[in-house]
Symmetry: C3
Subunit: 381 residues, 3 copies
Amino acid sequence: MLPPDLPLVDHHCHSVLGGDLSAAAFARLLTESDRPPAPGTDYLDTQLGFAVRRHCAPLLDLEPHCPPEAYLERRRSLGAAEATRRLLRAAGLRTLLVDTGLVEVPGAGPLLSLPELASAASAEVHRVVRLETVAEEVAQGWVSARSYGDDCVRALTGAVQDAGTVAVKSVLAYRHGLDVEPDRPSEAAVAHAAGEWLAQLDQHGGPLRLTHPVLLRHLLWTAVDLGLPIQLHTGFGDPDLTLHRADPSLLTGFIRAVEPRGVPLVLLHGYPYHRQAAYLAAVYPHVYADVGLTLSHSGARAGAVLAEVLEVVPFGKVLFSTDAYGLPELYPVGAALFRHALAGLLDGWTADGSWSAADADRVAALIGGANARRLYALPGR
Amino acid sequence: MLPPDLPLVDHHCHSVLGGDLSAAAFARLLTESDRPPAPGTDYLDTQLGFAVRRHCAPLLDLEPHCPPEAYLERRRSLGAAEATRRLLRAAGLRTLLVDTGLVEVPGAGPLLSLPELASAASAEVHRVVRLETVAEEVAQGWVSARSYGDDCVRALTGAVQDAGTVAVKSVLAYRHGLDVEPDRPSEAAVAHAAGEWLAQLDQHGGPLRLTHPVLLRHLLWTAVDLGLPIQLHTGFGDPDLTLHRADPSLLTGFIRAVEPRGVPLVLLHGYPYHRQAAYLAAVYPHVYADVGLTLSHSGARAGAVLAEVLEVVPFGKVLFSTDAYGLPELYPVGAALFRHALAGLLDGWTADGSWSAADADRVAALIGGANARRLYALPGR
Amino acid sequence: MLPPDLPLVDHHCHSVLGGDLSAAAFARLLTESDRPPAPGTDYLDTQLGFAVRRHCAPLLDLEPHCPPEAYLERRRSLGAAEATRRLLRAAGLRTLLVDTGLVEVPGAGPLLSLPELASAASAEVHRVVRLETVAEEVAQGWVSARSYGDDCVRALTGAVQDAGTVAVKSVLAYRHGLDVEPDRPSEAAVAHAAGEWLAQLDQHGGPLRLTHPVLLRHLLWTAVDLGLPIQLHTGFGDPDLTLHRADPSLLTGFIRAVEPRGVPLVLLHGYPYHRQAAYLAAVYPHVYADVGLTLSHSGARAGAVLAEVLEVVPFGKVLFSTDAYGLPELYPVGAALFRHALAGLLDGWTADGSWSAADADRVAALIGGANARRLYALPGR
C-alpha cells in the first residue's frame, strides 16, 4: 500500500455538485454515456459503480457494497455538504488542477466554485483554462470573421493571466478528432474558417459548439504561444467522440511541430490507447501521459491497466489524476484505486526483485505528485 | 468456479460436423486460417489446440493432454455420434443461437441440421439469419438490377419469419471492412450497385460472394427495418478480412445512425479490439459486446482477455458465446474456458473486496445467459 | 525457470560498442528516443533501466539495483573488454543474427565487427542485410535514375551472397510507414521515383536517407525475388516513425501479395500492436512474429506482454530476440527477461493444468531457438 500520507496532486479534475443527488443523477454521473441505460440494464453495474459502493460507503459509515438505495439515503440524511466534505477529504489530495470549462451538470445543478471546492477538499486549487470554452464565449459577443482569430488570442491571453492558472486544455478529440493538420493555420485560413462557422451559427442558432478544425488548431497554436502546458483529451470519453479518431498517435504530427517550442503536451486518459500515449511520452521530451479517467472506470482492473501504462513510459513522465466530474465520490474512488493499483504493482515488482524498494518509493512519489509539481511549476514540495 | 448448473446461453454459434474427422480436418478446424500450416508447424500447437486436449480428452475417457493421435483414435472408436453427443452435452448449454449461414465444412462434409444439433446438445435451438447468405441466394435466381434491392428485402423479411429466428448477422467485416458509409443507401444507389455486381457475376461466374459495400449497407438497413438484433462480426477471423478494417470503432457512424431506431447491435468477438467494443457497449444503449471466439482462441489466456472486456462494459451489455463451428469440441472448450475464466476473475475480485459476492453471482448470471434472454427475447428464465 | 542451458537463438540484434561508456551514452542507449531527457527526468527511470540495474550489476560483481554511478565506475575499472565479454556471455546465446545496417552509435563510437562480436559472445554469428542501407550505398556512387532500380537489384543480390547472410531486413516503418501500395512497382515507376529522389539529393546534399515509398517497395520486391526471409520493423521504435503507421496490420495487402511466393515475412517487435502481429502469424503460413524489443523495454512487465503475444499465435511461429544495439547490457537483459517471462507463463499454465509439462518444454524450445533454426535454415540443432 502507498503511504496514506503520500501527498497526491490531481492534475486533471473538475468541480462537483454540492447538493443532494437523485438516484438517476447518481447513476448518470457514473457513466461516460449521456444516454439513458438500455432496457433492463443499470449504469451502476460497472467496475466504477462497484468501486464507488466499495470505497465510498465506509466513508458514510456504511458497509462496503451496501445497496445503492441505502447509500443514497444515508447521503441525504448526512446532508450533501457533510457527505461532500467527507468524500473529498478522504481522497487525500493536496492539490487539484481544475478544468473550469464545465460549470454545471446539465439537469442536476451548478458545480461548486473553486473556493468552495478548495474548502470542501481542504486542498490547494489551481485552474486549467479550456480553450474551446473561451473561444465559444468570444463568439457569443459581437464578432467579425476577420477579427475572430485575434479576439480568441486576446481572450485566451487574458484568461491565463488569472491568478492560479497553470495549464490549458483542449477537447479537440470531442470536437473533431485528433486527426488534424499539424501546422499552425494561416491568418487567412482562420478568418475564412471563422466566416464559415459564424455564418453557420447565424443560420442555426442553438448552443455554441466550436467544431471547425481550423479554428480548433488556431486555439492550439495560440496555446503554444502562451507557453503553459497543454492538456489534450485522448482516448475514451462520452459518445461525442469517435474512439479511433481519439488515438493519441494521431497527434504525432502536431507533437513534432510543437517540439522546437518546448511547450509540454499532456495526453489525458488515452484508454484503450494508453500504451500509445506512454510511447509518445517515452520518445518526445515535451510529451506526458495521464492515467486518470482510465483507472477510475476500470475499477478492480485499475492495477492491470496502470501496469500497461508503466511498460514503456519513463516514470518522470506519467501523472496521477481522478478526472472527477460532478460526483464527489469520484475523488476518493479515483484516489483509492490509484493508491491500491500502484501499491499492488510496486509490491509485486519489489517482491520478485525486479525493482528495488527505494526505486519503488521514488517512483510512487513521482507519479503521485512530484511530476505534476515540476511540470506545472506548482508551489510546495 | 461458476456453478456448473449455471444455464448458459450460447448466443452465437454454428452447427457441427456429425461424422468422423480426419487428423487434417481436426487441425484445420482449430484455426481461423484456411491455409495449410507453415512447414514444420502444426495448428494444434496453439492455446486453442492445448485447450481442446485438456478439456475434451477426459470427456472421451482419456487423460487430459493425451496425444492428438490417441484422441482421434478414441473418438473414432467411440463413434462420431457418441463422441459428438458427449462433447456437446458436456458444454452445459441450455440454449443455442445458431448462425445458419454456413451449412458445411468445405471438404469435410455437411453440418448437422438444427434439430440434429438440438438433440445432440440437449439444448433449445434458435436461428440467426445471415444477411449476405440470403442476398446471395437471391442473386442465384433470375434477378434484375432494378429489382434486386427489393428482392433482398422480400427474401430477408421472409427468412426472419421462420419460426425460431431471433436475430440476423452481418459479415460486413469479411466482405468489405467496417469502414463503410453509415447511412442507408438510396434506391438508385442500390440499383446501380446491383447492376455493377450482377454484371461482374455474369462475366466471372464462380461462387457468389457479395462484396459490394452499397449492397452490404442495403442489407444492414433492411435488417434495421426488420427490428431484430443485428450481430456484426468484428475483430479477428479468417484471413478474408483485413484486421484493422474490422475494428468495431469504425462502425461508430453506423451505430449513431441506427440509434434512433433502437435496434440492438451486437459486436461479435472484437479481438484485439475488444476494449473498443466494450467502450461502444458502454456509451450506446443499443450496443452489446460478445466474448466468444476471443476466449476460445486464447485458451489459457481467456481470463486475461475477458478481464479486458470487463473494464468499461456495463455488465448488462456483455454476452457469452462459443462461436463453435464444425468441430463439436469447440462447444465444451468454449464453455469451459468461459466458466473458468469468469470464475477466476470473480473469485479474485471478491477475495480482495473489490466486489461483493452477491454482485459476482448476479454478474455471472447476466453474462452467462440473462443478458441474452433479455436481448433476444428468449423464452425461459 | 527455463533450463539455463536452453540454447537461445537471437534472431534479431545489432552489434555493440566495445569501449568505455559515458553516463550520457549509457542512458541514451536505454531509450528509443534520440532526444535529451525532459528537464528533471532520467532515461534510467524506466522498466528497461531498472532491468539493467537488476540483471547486469551482479554480472559485474555488484548488488542488484546498485546506483548507476557505481555500476559505470565498476564497468570502467573492469575494463570495457572484460565487461563486454562478461555481459555478452551471460546472455547464454548460441547464435546471433545481426542486422549490419548500423555500424556505429553516433557520437559514441563504432560497433564491434561481427568476428569481434562472435568472439566476445562466444556465439555463432550470421548476417542480416538491411535493404535500405544497401540502396543508400548504391546512391552514393554515380548513378542514373534509369538504372538505379537495377543497380539496387545487383547490389542486393551481391550483398546476400556474402557468407553467413541468412535474411534481409526492411525499415519501411521508419522511412515511410507500413501503409504502402502492396504490389511490385513497375520499372517505369521505379525509374521515375529514382529521378525524384536523386534530384532531391542533388539539391539538398546531406546524409542519404531513402524515404521514397516506390523505391522502398522496389527493395521489398527485390528481396522477395532473393527468397531469404524478410524481417520487417513494425510497432514502436525511435521517433522517426509514426506509431499508428507502424501497425503490422497495414502490411496485410503486401502479405497477401507475397503469399504465393512463399517467402517468409518476420514481423519484428510489433508493440503495442503485437496482438495484431500474432494474428497475422496465425492466419498466413509465411508470416512470423518476434518478441524482441518489446520484452526488453517492458522489463518487469515482459511476462504480461509476452502472454499477449501467445494468445493466438501458433507456437511454431514466434521467435525470441533481444534487438540489442550498442549497449552490451541489452543482450543479457533481453535474454534474462525472456527466460523469466516465458518460464513464469509456462509454470503458471502447467500448474493450473492448462498445459502439459511436455508441451511447455517443447514450446520453450521452439520459441527459444528451434523456430529460428528452421526458418533461417541455420546449422545445428
